[in-house]
């Protein structure tokens, strides 16, 4: 509905983000330059400056979107799974990995060192929402394991996050199988 109207002037910001996402999918992070983004959006090389003061700001906007989709990927997987703690942990892990595998460049961007502005409110919120998914599946699982102490529960949370994150990272770097499920933390931790 009509938000696309007006090109010479229009909703450039959204067009830039869309163009950047397309380039990212096609050529990865190194292929993403402000000038290419501008060109693909049909504007001059300095046009983005009015919507994003610098490259980091554009990357931050992209990462924010990425975190939102990432959260959705975990939420979708969880919704399809059974509600018991073990299944939920497994599902979140699959959602984590699925996003990384289908959008490796976005995933790398989300966790790239200094390229992002973590002072940005929207990015912080999107990141926190993603982390909340992990807290939501971790707590019931800690109960199942009978972990009472806060320290133990936090440690379990970190272990679940770290293993999912590490596996995803190694997988998109070709160090883990390109298909198949991640190691089943839930099974290893609960059985026996």
């Amino acid at each position: 509905m009509g938000k696309k109207a007006g090109y010479h002037h229009g909703n450039l910001r959204a067009a830039l983000v869309e163009a950047a996402l397309a380039i990212l999918e096609a050529d990865g992070l190194p292929g993403l330059t402000l000038r290419r983004v501008a060109a693909q959006a049909g504007v001059s090389h300095a046009a983005p400056a009015h919507h994003f003061p610098n490259l980091q700001a554009l990357l931050t906007a992209l990462a924010t979107i990425a975190f939102e989709r990432f959260t959705q990927s975990m939420a979708r997987a969880r919704a399809r799974a059974k509600p018991d703690p073990e299944s939920q942990v497994r599902a979140a892990g699959r959602g984590y990995l699925a996003f990384a595998r289908s959008h490796p460049a976005l995933f790398r961007l989300m966790f790239s060192a200094g390229d992002l502005d973590w002072q940005d409110q929207a990015l912080q919120a999107a990141g926190a929402a993603a982390f909340r998914q992990l807290q939501e599946i971790s707590a019931p699982f800690a109960d199942l394991l009978g972990l009472a102490g806060e320290t133990d529960r936090r440690e379990l949370e970190r272990l679940i996050w770290a293993s999912a994150h590490g596996y995803a990272h190694l997988a998109i770097d070709g160090k883990m199988p390109a298909t198949g499920n991640p190691p089943d933390v839930a099974r290893f931790l609960s059985k026996r």
Copy 2:
């Protein structure tokens, strides 16, 4: 002795690597440029080309050294620890994390996506040696857990690697506590 002799002509390759390591520690990956490396080594901007055909080759050499030090970090930690499987797993995890925390830029470089030439023999060897450390601690621990099937043993190996890797990555990104130990996989897996 005296390998340093001769400067106008000399052992430039080693000097370049040393300069690059210094810059990496000081300013991180984005601060590392061929021209700065050349300047710090006291040669012209095009001098590195004869020793490293392109930037990727230099980064690959750096990553190779990084993997060697990384392996040593794990080996040192293991040597200081008791020989039982649990302690060895814990120690390797600490060594993994210790290296990442004290050389974050090198660690990131080692696992940076397309910046490295994994066809390079030296890099492959150094990477394999590091991975071997994980296999060495994983096998006895699998025995301890009574895992017989090859699939299960491989899955455990991957879980240990992934959790160590993920925690290290998240730690140097500020998403995990800056000090303290990683989650104790060995304890979670064996107790109860």
